[in-house]
Each structure stands twice: as C-alpha cells, then as structure tokens.
C-alpha cells in the first residue's frame, strides 16, 4: 500500500510549507555547515599546531629530560582527546565528510562506524548543503530507531531532476515520521510503501535540491 505521509484525515490537513519557511531552513543548514568549517579551520587547527610546538619542546628537552618528555607526551595525548571530542561535535553539527564528499561517502562511513547492517546505493552527485544535511540526518534518525537485531536496511539516493530522492527500505512505517521531520521544512514530500511484515516497509522522500 502506498500512502502519502502524513495521513490526511478529516479537517487535519497539513499546511504546505511556505517559501519563507523553506528559505529559513535552507539557511539553517548552510549555517550548520559553516559552523563545522569554523571549528575545523579555527579551534582544531590551533590545537593541532599546539602539538607541534610541544614536539619542539620535547626535542629541546632531550637527551636528559626524560621526565619532561614523558610529561609532554601526556599533554599531546590529552590534546588528541580534546580534538576527538571536537570531531564528535562537528559530526553532529554537519559531518565534514558530508560537506567534502557528499551523501554516499558520508553514509557509508557512518554505517561502518555504527557497525549497522545497511547497504548504501548512492552516486557521487551533489545536492547542496540543505538537502544533503536533511537526508543524512533522516537516515541517522532511522538507524537510531532500528530495534536491536533488525534485518538489514537499504538506502538509495538518486537525483530526479531538481529533487533529491531518498529511499529507505527495511524499516517500519513509523520511520516515515522521523524522515518527515527532517525533510518537510525544506518542502520535502514523504511517501510510505507499507509492507505486510514488520520491518518490510519503504519510506521515500523527495526533497527540492540545488
């Protein structure tokens, strides 16, 4: 059964998203991407440069400054830990790999990191910061909502003229809501093909893109 999400009944008819709302949300995604770049070019670069200066100090402390060298090594490890935390924050704001390489590489990397049984089919095509951001986080929400031991999911990303088509199969119909939350503010439309068994539904989102 194919149905448009959300299910429209009686007076409960959803207002279409206005052009102004779409623009606001597009700007929001661009700002998120900018914040991530700022983290990379600013704080992260400064901290990395600091480890180099510590290395210089370590070199100068040699050869009879073993205690100092150990202490410097510990500081460098600590800075690595700080950077790992910044990377974690950046990934939640706007994944750097999504920014640099697009949906295919970013989704493949994240399913590998989460060890999730997900097949990703996507070309190297680009769709702009907003559509890519919304599609990426929509898939991430679906992954987070998958019950443990769920069968494998399949994610397909494709261009249909001026829309990004995202299809997520091997999920339940309720996943449509998670995807809708992400794509609706951008004027996206979500469709559900309900399967006869749990975890056998497909959610298809079409998001206007660049």
């Amino acid at each position: 059964m194919v149905s448009r999400f959300p299910h429209r009944t009686g007076d409960d008819v959803d207002e279409p998203v206005t052009e102004a709302c779409r623009r606001t949300h597009q700007d929001r995604w661009r700002r998120r991407r900018l914040l991530q770049r700022q983290l990379h070019d600013g704080a992260a670069l400064r901290i990395s440069a600091l480890t180099l200066r510590l290395g210089l100090l370590e070199h100068r402390a040699a050869p009879d400054g073993q205690a100092v060298q150990d202490c410097i090594g510990e500081l460098q490890d600590e800075l690595h830990a700080v950077l790992e935390e910044l990377r974690d924050v950046a990934a939640q704001i706007y994944p750097p790999l999504l920014d640099e390489a697009g949906l295919g590489p970013a989704l493949r990397e994240v399913v590998a990191t989460l060890q999730a049984p997900v097949a990703v089919v996507a070309s190297e095509e680009r769709f702009g910061a907003a559509a890519e951001g919304a599609a990426y986080f929509a898939v991430l929400q679906c992954l987070a909502a998958q019950p443990a031991g769920a069968p494998s999911m399949k994610v397909v990303v494709r261009r249909e003229t001026d829309t990004l088509m995202l299809s997520v199969s091997g999920v339940d119909a309720f996943h449509a809501e998670l995807i809708d939350d992400q794509v609706r503010p951008l004027g996206g439309i979500v469709e559900v093909i309900t399967g006869s068994l749990p975890g056998a539904s497909t959610v298809i989102a079409r998001i206007p893109c660049e």
Binding site: L45, S48, L52, R53, L56, P96
Partner: protein, 221 residues
C-alpha cells in the same frame, strides 16, 4: 630528508616547518596550496611531500596535488595530513599509490617519534596508516567478518592491527618484541583464518588485501 610542505593553515604550516628543521630535516619548499607546491617542485628536488588533504584547490586539493606529483615524480614519497581519519580518504589515497605513501592525523605528527617513524617508513617505500584509523577498521568489522576477526587470538589481532597500519614484518616484530619469523607465522595463520590468499612477499599488496577485507561488507547492494 628533503621535505616539501603544502598546508593552507599558516599556524600549522609554520609549526611543522620549525619542528622538521629542529629534528634535522631539510625543508626545501613550503606552500599554502597545492598548485604552488607543484610549481615549486618542478625545479626543486625533494624526498617527501607533506600535503594537507583539505586545502586549495578546493575541496580536497591535497589529493589532486598528490596525483599530479606522483605522475611527475614517481619516486617522491607522499604524506597526507588531515584533521580527520576517514576510511573514505584512505581508499582514495591508496588509489593514488600503495608505495611510499602515508596518511596521518595532524596532531599526531607533533610527536617527534611519530614524525620520524612516519617519514622513515615512507622513505623506505612503506605505506603508513594512522593507527587510530587502523584500529577502528579492525575493531569495527561487520557481519560474518566480525566473528572471524573476533575468533583471532589476542596476539593475532595485534598483528592484524599493525598490518592495517602498513607495518612491515620487521616493523611488526619491533613493535611486539618478537622475532620476524614469529610474525610470519602469525600472518600465515591470520590469512588462513580470514580466507585470504595473497602473495605475502609483496608487502603493499598484503596491506591492501587486509584493508579491503576489513572495509568491505558482504551483501552490499
């Protein structure tokens, strides 16, 4: 060693320059982007080029620059530095070359020991892979492979991780304080258990086989 350097962040570039010089390397040229470095290297000989992945020409100028450098100077070693250790970039790097090539996190080369080890190994023709990434690849295999890797002994897992870092048999032996002969035995066992049949004499092909095994997923649609 004669080192060439391209990095668009001034603070990091100057810091690395000072550290390289302090530990006795000769920095033959440094540039703020890839195109400038390619131009400088047409007249200046170097042993290793250190490249920031994310620099002009955007968005990943380090990779484009490396392709051009490898074509023009096949013997020039290449070391990629990045703020991120991602398997996506590792695979792109290995498409550029599998000898005298390395990929490390920026903050890790601040350690003199790491910097020296990395440059020496690249100078010796090896592949150098960021241990943070190698560990992630070994620890996060999926599906059937997860069980296969989990079934390896602790020592075999250590050897697998060091192989994924691109280390040679002697390198692995040195890290684990065991003989190269013992390393060979572990590697033979690992290859049988993983079901890989590869000419183990060719170092770079072996590293590639291990990385491909760790990264690929069965039933990928």
């Amino acid at each position: 060693m004669r080192v060439a350097l391209a990095e668009d962040g001034t603070l990091f570039r100057e810091g690395l320059l000072m550290l390289l010089r302090a530990v006795g390397h000769q920095v033959v040229c440094s540039a703020a982007d890839g195109d400038e470095l390619v131009a400088l290297l047409t007249t200046t000989p170097a042993d290793v080029a250190i490249l920031d992945i994310r620099m002009p020409p955007e968005p990943d100028g380090g990779l484009i620059t490396a392709e051009r450098l490898r074509a023009a100077h096949p013997d020039l070693g290449l070391l990629f530095l990045s703020h991120y250790a991602e398997s996506h970039y590792l695979m792109r790097i290995l498409e550029i070359g599998t000898e005298s090539i390395g990929y490390r996190l920026k903050e890790k080369v601040g350690s003199v020991e790491v910097l020296t080890d990395t440059l020496n190994r690249i100078g010796n023709g090896e592949i150098v892979i960021e241990p943070v990434l190698a560990k992630r690849l070994v620890d996060r295999t999926r599906g059937d492979k997860k069980d296969v890797v989990a079934a390896l002994s602790d020592r075999e897992q250590e050897v697998l991780r060091l192989m994924a870092e691109g280390r040679s048999n002697n390198g692995i032996a040195g890290q684990l304080y065991i003989t190269p002969k013992a390393v060979e035995k572990h590697i033979a066992n690992i290859f049988v258990k993983l079901g890989l049949h590869i000419d183990t004499a060719a170092h770079h092909r072996r590293v590639l086989a291990v990385l491909t095994y760790l990264r690929s997923q069965r039933n990928q649609g």
